[in-house]
């Protein structure tokens, strides 16, 4: 592929290189052979084929499933006490890589502020960081950022990409109130809810690991869920999307999201066939699905009694108004309706007429069938009645229709869609489904609830989902901490210790830093799965503090050995995500609103005026309606249909056009310029400095000051053009 790994995620995600077209010729035979072998292998059953030697046949053979043994921290090589640096130093030393020195303090502050909160450091924050030259200044900044509730908005959004948050999906009953789940995630991150509890709560609705206790006095009691954990179940409820039968997709979605997000396994492949590359059989997929098959979605009323009474009054008023209009209208159209109905009825065969003319209760089954077959023909639509009306009558009729359309039903009461086990569904037998089609069960392959990758069938003592959650979060399960630690690392650096964050199976390849991955996973467990502990360890490392800029000599040598910076010999350059770009624009304008929680807003719709953080922009997918705002699409935000481990970082002409010409940039440039001019009346040099500080998090160099003042030529009205240019800079868009 001609693209570079730095700006184009595609090759990492999916192998769609043009070479795969070429393959059809020069490697076509090989491809066909491989497929035939795989097909045979699938037919012959697991473990029979021997022609694919790299493919593990048993769970034990997969590296990701081996127990986590905390590796010893390599010694020497670095003065840093942070174990991350020791592992990375060894990797770099072994390959002859020279690491870059520490980044400039303000570069680091901008990096860590965007990283931990998704926001730009304010000039005041920069000032106080520079003043606090003590060694503890950095730790203080980190503590401040991790303590800020904006941290939850940032990392909550990361996790929501993985957990497939969406305000809309094809036919998603959970849409009203789904934001409570988003808010729960953000709240959980801010509270530093241990990661195992975070997972358990979203699968079971109860974070508690011990669901029952026996007190010293000998009383047995259940541990009730924390009240807010009910909203964690939005995770499962969101998966119900299938038209007509909303619950049916829920269990598919649960299997695929949980296995990808928390286990790093592409179990989805086993929906249709035994996994070609990992020890996951088709039956495993349906066993895991059986855990969720009893679930149904149902609305949970969130209204207070007062709201309910008030709503009842509005509904009653609405209904009586509606009824008055409908009745008057029916009386008005009755002659036209009767005329058309009679015309159509008399055109039908005599036996059909006879059947339909009978009162419904007196029809035989056959007659009822006839009546139902013909009912669409006997439906008289307004357009048909209008065809036989005079213009004056139509006008009057339109008046009724307009009145009807004007009657708006009262806003529905607040509601949250949750999931619950349905006893009838729980008692039903479950089968492997041909290509996932519920109408085509393989009756010879009944499945019991269970999970893949285990040698012993689990005992479902505490309920199906509870048992799954216990197994996922058990200390013996190495997948959960490995996958989570890798995701968190990837959000800090843009690339993972294991290259493919969603696939720890054989197709995902070997991890790049297996020792460091296991060290962090072991310590993550030892630190009670504290995500804030892990963030702190990572951002205090020297590895994280390295400069991203490379001197010419080091560049040549290192680039040859490790062009993709897999060994972290420098800090990588990453483009800001869609959310951070808009947030930073609004910060520059001074209009960003930072309050948390509540309904998502429609960025492209009529309610464009919101200046809330972009994490609260509504997103999702509907085949018949554009849901994702063009802005979010342009800057690679996800619509919640896949488990997205890392956003793409495309570089496109439409992005350039947006930043150059969109009304958002225009408005922000105007406000930004006004702010600068207002803060430093008559002092363009200070205004330029403040502009650099706000947008780029640093002081301008003297060359830059001269350049800006040449452009401004003493004219304050040109500050808008200056602001525009700053917001279009590569440096504004990239985190270095």
């Amino acid at each position: 592929m001609v693209s570079s790994p730095n700006c184009f995620e595609v090759p990492r995600n999916v192998n769609v290189a043009p070479s795969s077209f070429r393959r059809t010729v020069d490697a076509g035979w090989r491809a066909i052979t491989v497929r035939v072998v795989l097909a045979l292998w699938a037919v012959l059953g697991w473990g029979v084929a021997t022609s694919a030697p790299t493919i593990p046949k048993t769970p034990e053979e997969l590296w990701a499933l081996r127990p986590i043994v905390r590796p010893a921290v390599p010694e020497g090589g670095t003065a840093s006490k942070n174990p991350i640096d020791a592992f990375i130093a060894k990797s770099c030393r072994d390959r002859g890589l020279t690491t870059t020195g520490p980044a400039d303090p303000l570069v680091w502050l901008r990096r860590v502020t965007f990283d931990l909160t998704g926001l730009a450091p304010t000039p005041a924050e920069q000032e106080s960081y520079l003043e606090d030259s003590s060694a503890g200044g950095r730790d203080k900044a980190i503590a401040r950022l991790l303590g800020s509730e904006q941290h939850g908005v940032r990392y909550g959004r990361h996790w929501l990409d993985v957990l497939r948050y969406a305000d809309f999906d094809e036919n998603m009953p959970a849409t009203p109130g789904i934001h409570y789940w988003r808010d729960w995630v953000i709240h959980a991150i801010n509270q530093d809810l241990p990661f195992d509890d975070f997972v358990r709560a979203q699968i079971t609705g109860n974070r508690a690991a011990k669901r029952k206790t026996i007190s010293p006095e000998g009383h047995l009691s259940e541990v009730p869920p924390r009240p807010e954990d009910r909203f964690a179940l939005g995770f499962l409820a969101r998966g119900a999307t299938s038209p007509g039968n909303a619950d049916y997709q829920l269990s598919f979605s649960a299997v695929e999201t949980i296995s990808t997000a928390f286990m790093g396994m592409t179990i989805g492949c086993a929906k249709c066939h035994d996994h070609f590359f990992d020890p996951i059989r088709q039956a495993d997929y349906y066993s895991m699905k059986a855990i969720f098959d009893p679930l149904v979605v149902r609305p949970m009323d969130l209204a207070t009694p007062e709201q309910v009474f008030a709503h009842g009054r509005s509904v009653a008023e609405h209904e009586s108004r509606l009824q008055r209009v409908v009745e008057a209208m029916r009386r008005f159209v009755a002659p036209y309706h009767t005329q058309l109905y009679e015309e159509r009825l008399s055109a039908l065969p005599p036996e059909a007429q006879a059947a339909i003319r009978k009162p419904e209760k007196q029809r035989s089954a056959a007659e009822q069938k006839i009546a139902e077959d013909y009912h669409p023909i006997l439906r008289i639509d307004p357009i048909k009645m209008k065809a036989i009306m005079t213009p004056e009558v139509i006008k009057e009729y339109d008046g009724y229709l307009k009145q009807l359309a004007a009657l708006k039903a009262p806003e529905p009461l607040p509601v949250f869609w949750t999931v619950e086990d349905d006893a009838k569904r729980a008692s039903e037998k479950r089968y492997v489904l041909t290509t996932g089609d519920p109408a085509r069960p393989k009756l010879s392959q009944e499945v019991q609830p269970g999970f893949p990758l285990v040698t012993r069938p689990p005992e479902f003592r505490d309920g199906r989902r509870e048992t799954l959650a216990d197994w996922l979060t058990a200390a013996e399960n190495p997948l959960l901490p490995r996958v989570a630690v890798n995701r968190i690392w990837q959000w800090h650096f843009g690339s993972g210790l294991h290259g493919s964050a969603n696939d720890f199976g054989s197709l995902g390849g070997a991890p790049i830093h297996p020792q460091l991955l296991d060290y962090l996973a072991a310590e993550f467990i030892a630190h009670r799965y504290s995500m804030k502990w892990l963030h702190t360890l990572i951002v205090t490392s020297e590895t994280y503090q390295r400069a991203s800029r490379v001197t010419a000599d080091a560049a040549i040598a290192n680039q040859r050995i490790d062009p993709d910076n897999r060994m972290y010999w420098k800090y990588p350059l990453n483009r800001l995500e869609a959310e951070s770009i808009r947030d930073a624009l609004l910060q520059a304008a001074g209009t960003l609103e930072l309050h948390l929680g509540g309904k998502s807003f429609d960025m492209g719709g009529t309610n464009v005026s919101s200046n809330r953080r972009t994490a609260y922009v509504q997103r999702g997918y509907r085949s018949y309606q554009e849901v994702m705002p063009a802005y979010l699409q342009t800057f690679d935000a996800e619509d919640g249909r896949i488990v997205c481990p890392r956003r793409n970082q495309t570089v496109t002409a439409p992005q350039a056009l947006f930043l150059m010409n969109d009304s958002l940039t225009e408005d922000v440039s105007k406000l930004f310029a006004a702010r600068l001019a207002g803060e430093f009346p008559g002092d363009l040099t200070s205004a330029v400095r403040a502009g650099y500080r706000q947008a780029l998090g640093r002081h301008p160099t003297s060359t830059e000051e001269v350049r800006a003042s040449t452009y401004l030529a003493g004219d304050p009205s040109r500050l808008k053009g200056f602001s525009w240019a700053v917001l279009n800079l590569d440096e504004f868009l990239y985190l270095r």
């Binding site: 999916v14 769609v16 070429r22 483009r575 085949s623 690679d636 896949i642 570089v651 496109t652």
Partner: protein, 461 residues
């Protein structure tokens, strides 16, 4: 370059109008990549068409009232509509009369309804496929099936135009490879799916600003912008020097250059001021009913002339099912036919007189057809089991009729053509072997056209 991050087996985000500059210009131009490799290892059939104009009528056009006359022998009689939708039970429905008159057109004498007199006049250029079928009975699934050739949601399948862009790239580096004109029924019709945002459709609209944000805000003068651009370029200097080894940063420079070229080229492409009045009239530009669609088709021709590969033109997308969805009354087709009849005929004859028809494949279709019976006395229901599409130019033998529906026009019964076959035909005329158009996603081969599909050889010259 490991393959991973797949859900469940792999997919890219759906995005509209996103083009990755680092990988060349609009579209990942495989042809160009391979040329650079010095090989032509993509098996190429001799291409007959360079561009495609894909006319999509949103909502389901009645084949029975346009290109597939059945007479009224069965009118008023009940027929068994078994198999309609998911209903496998016996279901009697009354056939409704067709009120159109059909006239044999051109030398070929293909009968065309009085709703399409102008199209009738170019019938000798058109191959009518009367035996189309698909599986989905409802609009959105059927639109997705028609656009992508797939019904499952397991993967995010790209639309036909995206496959073509992906495989062939563009001849013009200043314009997108795949352009959409007119509101589609579904955003899926614009989606590059797992082929990536780079090959998604770029929506163009006639008018001064064919692409969003193409022009600077009103109160920014050209001179202001020029000064700002110079300042920006100077201010970027140090950063671009420091991070020169990052191809993303090089791509940033190119993205602004490309944006500038688009600012120059796109308005020129949509500027009709040099089109003579006779040509405008030919397309119905300025006509009461035909202005809108005529402009779209005139723009389509201009884009073909400028080397755009795939132009999808949607008609009657109304944010809902599409205006062709004539449940209530077939009469609602009349204005839609009026809106499209003259422009379509104008396009075909204009392409022909410019010598472009030989290399431009024009395809006309809908997501499905309509039933012989009514739900509501004078309208027709959805019919995926038999409908009509037609093709013209690009190596298609005009004046041909292919396939047949049953006596009432419910089911395709002879030489049946599935959507994949229609797509295979288009791909084939562009010089690609549909069987070879396969990519691998996480070890799993996926393709636009499923095995067993064949181009409609009987209509090819």
């Amino acid at each position: 370059m490991t393959s991973s991050s797949i859900y469940p087996c792999g997919r890219f985000a759906r995005r509209r109008f996103l083009h990755q500059v680092g990988a060349g210009f609009f579209g990942t131009a495989i042809g160009a990549v391979l040329a650079a490799d010095g090989g032509n290892s993509v098996p190429r059939i001799t291409p007959r068409a360079r561009s495609v104009i894909f006319l999509f009528m949103c909502g389901g056009v009645s084949h029975l009232d346009t290109f597939d006359p059945k007479g009224n022998g069965m009118a008023g009689k009940l027929i068994n509509a078994v198999g309609f939708g998911d209903n496998m039970a016996e279901m009697m429905r009354p056939v409704i009369p067709c009120h159109r008159t059909f006239t044999p057109c051109g030398k070929s004498g293909i009968p065309v309804s009085d709703w399409f007199p102008h199209v009738g006049s170019v019938m000798d250029e058109i191959a009518v496929v009367r035996s189309m079928y698909c599986h989905e009975t409802n609009h959105f699934p059927a639109v997705v099936e028609m656009a992508t050739g797939h019904r499952d949601r397991l993967l995010e399948h790209p639309t036909l135009g995206s496959w073509v862009s992906f495989a062939l790239g563009n001849e013009n580096q200043n314009l997108p490879t795949f352009v959409n004109l007119g509101r589609p029924s579904s955003a899926v019709q614009l989606s590059g799916g797992y082929l990536g945002a780079t090959v998604s459709a770029t929506p163009f609209q006639p008018g001064e600003v064919p692409i969003p944000n193409l022009k600077p805000p009103k109160n920014t003068s050209a001179a202001d912008r020029e000064r700002q651009m110079q300042l920006l370029s100077a201010m970027n200097e140090e950063f671009r020097r420091d991070y020169a080894i990052h191809s993303a940063i090089a791509a940033r420079t190119r993205s602004y250059e490309l944006a500038a070229r688009m600012q120059a080229c796109a308005p020129e492409a949509v500027d009709f001021s040099n089109e003579p009045e006779s040509i405008r009239q030919q397309y119905g530009v300025g006509g009461a009913d035909t202005d809108d669609f005529g402009k779209r088709l005139l723009l389509a021709r201009r884009l073909v002339e400028r080397g755009v590969r795939f132009i999808q033109v949607c008609h009657a997308g109304n944010g809902g099912n599409g205006a062709w969805d004539a449940h209530d009354d077939m009469g609602s087709h009349a204005p839609l036919c009026r809106q499209t009849d003259r422009p379509i005929a104008g396009l075909i004859s204009d392409l022909k007189q410019r010598g472009l028809l030989d290399t431009t494949l024009v395809v006309w279709t809908s997501e499905f057809g309509r039933t012989p019976w009514s739900q509501n006395t004078t309208g027709r229901d959805h019919n995926p089991k038999g409908f009509t599409s037609w093709l013209a130019g690009g190596g298609v033998r005009g004046g041909t009729i292919w396939g047949r529906t049953d006596d009432v026009g419910y089911r395709a019964v002879q030489d049946k053509v599935y959507i994949n076959d229609l797509q295979a035909t288009i791909i084939c005329q562009l010089g690609l072997d549909p069987k070879q158009m396969e990519i691998e996603i996480s070890g799993r081969p996926v393709r636009l056209v499923e095995e067993g599909s064949e181009p409609i050889r009987g209509i090819l010259a």
